[in-house]
């Protein structure tokens, strides 16, 4: 059954106002910027953003007023450090107040793991003694009943929607993802609904020829969006490299509320879709990010 639809349709159908959404899950790679921009264009409101290191995607969504809260390990600009929109929201409630539930990369991964397992929590020894448990009221300090040692209980997080950018998928949402995956698998397992964004749509046979490379069960996938270039400026292994310069430009262009609004108008609001966005970036820039040398893995034999 084909679940293919446009990005606009996928976001309109599966991401209501007030939803919790996990995205930007592979850390600096495979960030679904095209989905984020569509969320901004559809003026989604009161979202809870869930992720590890989120790079500038969360900064953009926060600046656009889409988020009421954030459960994340890190929000900013990996190339520059601070994110101005996140700072303005946390320090001055601009454009609105933002509830922040501090996490680390491990704790948010464990929270999603617990969610995917249908468990109330997963214990860890990480972050004991830090101020993070004091600030995140959802964490619970406890003593292990097995050995009487302190443990921190990380409660399950179950996103309403998880959005994952992948290299390729079939129309049903059987998707191949390769390279580092961050907490993508945990977020897919924990989600109620999954939106798969793919660089390429391939026949089912291609995916099923290598089921070890499939990220998770397609029965959780509600929408499959074919969106080449949809992760720019993040990298997609085997498709394009990270556009480091873009992150520097974003930093320079978002120092003030006004300049951020100009950036938003220029790069998101005035751009109807990803194809137009890529046109706007220009062929030369896109060409510079292309894969210079393809490195194919050895085929594997599933024969019997």
């Amino acid at each position: 059954m084909s679940k293919r639809m446009s990005m606009a349709e996928a976001i309109a159908r599966y991401l209501p106002d007030g939803a919790s959404v996990a995205m930007s899950l592979a850390l600096e790679a495979l960030i679904p910027f095209a989905a984020g921009h569509e969320i901004i264009r559809q003026q989604k409101r009161d979202l809870t953003l869930i992720g590890p290191i989120s790079d500038i995607l969360f900064d953009q969504l926060i600046g656009a007023g889409c988020a009421a809260s954030i459960k994340a390990a890190w929000a900013g600009n990996v190339s520059e450090g601070l994110g101005y929109c996140y700072r303005r929201a946390a320090e001055k409630a601009i454009p609105r107040t933002l509830t922040i539930e501090e996490h680390s990369n491990f704790s948010i991964g464990l929270a999603l793991l617990a969610g995917g397992l249908g468990l109330p929590y997963v214990p860890t020894r990480s972050l004991l003694g830090s101020d993070i448990p004091r600030q995140n009221p959802t964490f619970h300090s406890a003593t292990s009943p097995f050995d009487d040692t302190p443990v921190l209980l990380i409660p399950a997080v179950r996103p309403d929607v998880t959005i994952i950018h992948t290299q390729r998928s079939d129309e049903d949402g059987n998707a191949h993802l390769w390279g580092n995956s961050g907490i993508s698998a945990e977020a897919m397992m924990a989600a109620r609904d999954v939106i798969i964004v793919a660089e390429e749509i391939v026949p089912r046979d291609v995916i099923l020829s290598d089921p070890n490379r499939v990220l998770g069960p397609s029965f959780k996938v509600r929408a499959v969006v074919h969106e080449p270039g949809g992760a720019h400026p993040a990298a997609v292994q085997g498709y394009y490299n990270r556009d480091h310069q873009f992150y520097h430009e974003y930093h320079e262009r978002t120092r003030t509320v006004e300049s951020y609004q100009d950036w938003l108008q220029d790069m998101v609001l005035s751009v109807p879709d990803r194809a137009t966005y890529l046109e706007k970036l220009g062929a030369e820039r896109i060409h510079g990010l292309r894969v210079k040398q393809h490195l194919l893995a050895a085929p594997v034999d599933y024969g019997y």
Partner: protein, 259 residues
Amino acid sequence: MDYTPQELMVACAARQIRDGERVFVGMRLPLIAFALAKRTHAPGCIGLFESGVIRDEPAAALLYTMGDAPNNVGALWTTGTVNVIGLMSAGEVQLGFIGGAEIDRYGNLNTSMIGDWQHPKVRLPGSGGGGDIASLSQRLAIIMPHERHRLREKVDYVTSPGYGYPDARGPAGMSWRQRVGLPRGGPSALITTLALFTFDSSNGEAMLQSYHPGTTIAYVQEQTGWPLRLAPNCAETIPPSTAELRVIREIDPEGKWTR
């Protein structure tokens, strides 16, 4: 002086890595330190990246982020964050590198916020994996710029636990880590633009181990927000050797991170 402060810091960081160790690498200077150690005294070290990568050779191209595509090529394992930090949780990682915006005399690090945490003056990006690395690695090495407002008596917020603080139940140090339930670890080195500190794990205090060529103990004190305690053998930092500099400049030929 024919080297930059960053090159000296990279050399200091590389010297923290022992042969055969598994090292939580991170980005920028530690990444170059890992490559330097690999090509000099620690050819058997293995690098782990919280993005979900383990490799025993540095990537073929200079990385801007750990998520850059070259970091997955020729890796021992590309996987997820929970697996890689999970290894560290199980005690399999000897050394972790992190940076910080602020540190205090007990090696507690803040990358979360300046000011009151309910009304921060400056909101910083947060933990990332830093809090995990500080909690779970066997030893922690910290790299940061040396400025008086960054090396403080007490940080505003503990994102990444060092040796804690003295309290009613006992002193700071390894005993504090045990009291709060951390399984191991603690800072072993703080590498700054001016100096190298080691730590006394019995009370958690940073000790000035060496001051970099061109600076003095008095100047380091001026730039440090707590009264310095000198290590017994405190001396000038050994500068990077010609061989170390050659390798650093091969790894970062344009000086992206080291100039």
